[in-house]
């Protein structure tokens, strides 16, 4: 469902335009119906990978496809729901208007958008604030509104960038239940996190990215075999990365 082949990306930073390599020849395939956890320390390249998938930035080389369509084709995003890290929305719009926008741009009929909005607003527990301007929302409420927006068109692929950040324990529980529900519906979920426990709880497969290199991809059952825990696996990969070994 998601296919990334040989993606590399460099950024130029500072007044000297120093080159910073963000991704190096990244290859990754995520089949339909899989929940994939993308793990890595801050600045490892998780968000860069996701932004390339969402066509917010362009890769220097390689190709990325979602549902068989190149990510540079806007139609590829018809089947994708995306929640950015720290989402910001229009100050003076309400959650209802935000979802109307999401549904209509995805080609949904107004009546269906209304039904789906009611369902999702209830799901993310924003019933009492759905008519309020989004600028009055807390960080956690914005995250929940963003989640509803990502799911408004019932997408086959859901891409979540650090979805747990900013959520209180109730919000985390709600999101966890939602991930399990999406998995039950056969959706493909790609989510990034640096919280090991989240990856362990929800992923079928996980990838560890460090300094722009995908160092390890395996099923959770393999990663956690022989009584290992994800923290030990992750720390081993970080240490190997520092030493420069594969």
């Amino acid at each position: 469902m998601i296919s990334i082949q040989g993606i590399s990306k460099e950024f130029r930073e500072g007044i000297t335009l120093k080159r910073v390599r963000a991704l190096q020849s990244l290859d990754l395939k995520i089949p339909r119906g899989e929940v994939f956890g993308f793990l890595g320390p801050n600045g490892a390249g998780k968000s860069t990978t996701i932004k390339i998938l969402m066509n917010l930035i362009y890769s220097d080389s390689g190709t990325a496809e979602i549902g068989g369509k190149d990510v540079r084709d806007p139609d590829a995003r018809k089947v994708v729901g995306y929640l950015p890290e720290n989402p910001f929305f229009y100050d003076y719009l309400t959650a209802d208007e935000l979802l109307w926008f999401g549904g209509r741009t995805s080609g949904m009929h107004s009546r269906i958008v209304k039904e789906r909005s009611d369902f999702l607003i209830h799901k993310v527990n924003l019933e009492n604030s759905r008519k309020r301007p989004l600028r009055t929302y807390s960080k956690g409420m914005l995250q929940r509104a963003g989640l509803a927006l990502a799911l408004i068109h019932d997408p086959d692929v859901v891409i979540l960038d650090e979805p747990m950040s900013g959520l209180d324990p109730i919000g985390r529980k709600m999101l966890g239940d939602l991930l399990i529900e999406l998995k039950g519906q056969g959706k493909t979920v790609f989510f990034s996190s640096h919280i090991l426990n989240d990856i362990e709880r929800f992923s079928d497969r996980a990838g560890i990215i460090i300094d722009g290199k995908l160092r390890l991809v395996d099923t959770l059952s393999n990663l956690l075999s022989d009584g290992k825990n994800l923290e030990a696996v992750f720390m081993r990969e970080v240490a190997a990365s520092v030493k420069g070994t594969s």
């Binding site: 860069t48 969402m54 590829a76 989402p87 910001f88 926008f101 999401g102 741009t105 080609g107």
Partner: protein, 270 residues
């Protein structure tokens, strides 16, 4: 289909902006001042009130474009609200077109409301000082307002063009203001340097002449859209001038927005 939802949320975001309340308040105060000042010049009440009412519309329209319009797109880039839009099946070009459509709608609705206020002020003064409204034409006043709206949409299109490659809303604002100033005066400056300024003691070098000519063709001639004087004095405006000015405005808008969309296609949002 994807343009309309984006245009509508852009319009809603703009019309609910608190800065718009401030602009409306300034307009109301200026319309009040129009009534006061016009009556101080008894024989010219008609001309002064029309000129001041139209000038108020122009001024508040500029505030709308500079302080609400530019922010509508700049905030998308600064706060990354653009992710909300580009994560939908919307291309970067469609983003520019949809956003511009919303901005044009905001200008049309806001300026129509302000124009109604201006016309009310004129109606009031005409009722109380009917004898000084001898030469008077509602159609010319309406045309002056329509030209002003077209000029504001053109200026907004130019701000979109600048926003497509600048990295900060402040630079976009400065470039748009500079364009407005040049656009308002370039026609007069060209006429001056092409006439015989040496007769009045001004020497124009060939380089200056070329630069002024280049600026004349590069920058929009915004003074074309200013027919306040003709409206105030109820002078005839040829229909060919009206037609060509509208065509000029629409072609310039289309060019600026198409260029903005082409540049924006390359832009990344890390």
């Amino acid at each position: 289909m994807t343009l309309w939802p984006l245009a509508l949320i852009t319009f809603k975001e703009g019309i609910r902006n608190k800065a718009l309340y401030g602009i409306t308040l300034i307009a109301l105060m200026l319309f009040g001042a129009t009534a006061l000042i016009a009556t101080m010049i008894p024989r010219e009440v008609g001309k002064v009130s029309i000129d001041m009412a139209l000038s108020t519309i122009s001024f508040t329209g500029l505030l709308l474009v500079f302080f609400v319009g530019i922010n509508l797109m700049a905030k998308d880039l600064d706060k990354r609200t653009i992710y909300t839009v580009l994560s939908r099946p919307i291309s970067r070009s469609q983003y520019i077109f949809g956003k511009f459509l919303g901005m044009a709608l905001l200008i049309i609705v806001t300026m129509s409301a302000l124009s109604l206020m201006a016309m009310s002020a004129i109606v009031l003064l005409k009722a109380t000082h009917a004898e000084y409204f001898g030469r008077f034409s509602w159609s010319l006043i309406t045309l002056a307002i329509l030209f002003n709206i077209l000029m504001l949409i053109l200026l907004s299109a130019i701000s979109f063009f600048f926003a497509s490659f600048t990295t900060s809303s402040f630079i976009t604002l400065v470039l748009t203001i500079i364009t407005y100033i040049i656009g308002q005066s370039i026609s007069s400056v060209k006429a001056l340097v092409e006439s015989s300024p040496q007769e009045i003691g001004i020497t124009v070098s060939p380089v200056t002449l070329k630069m002024v000519k280049a600026a004349y063709y590069l920058f929009p001639n915004l003074s074309l859209f200013d027919i306040k004087l003709q409206a105030a004095h109820a002078l005839t405006v040829p229909s060919s001038f009206v037609m060509w000015t509208i065509v000029y405005g629409l072609v310039y808008i289309a060019l600026a927005i198409t260029l903005a969309a082409l540049i924006f296609r390359k832009k990344e949002f890390p």
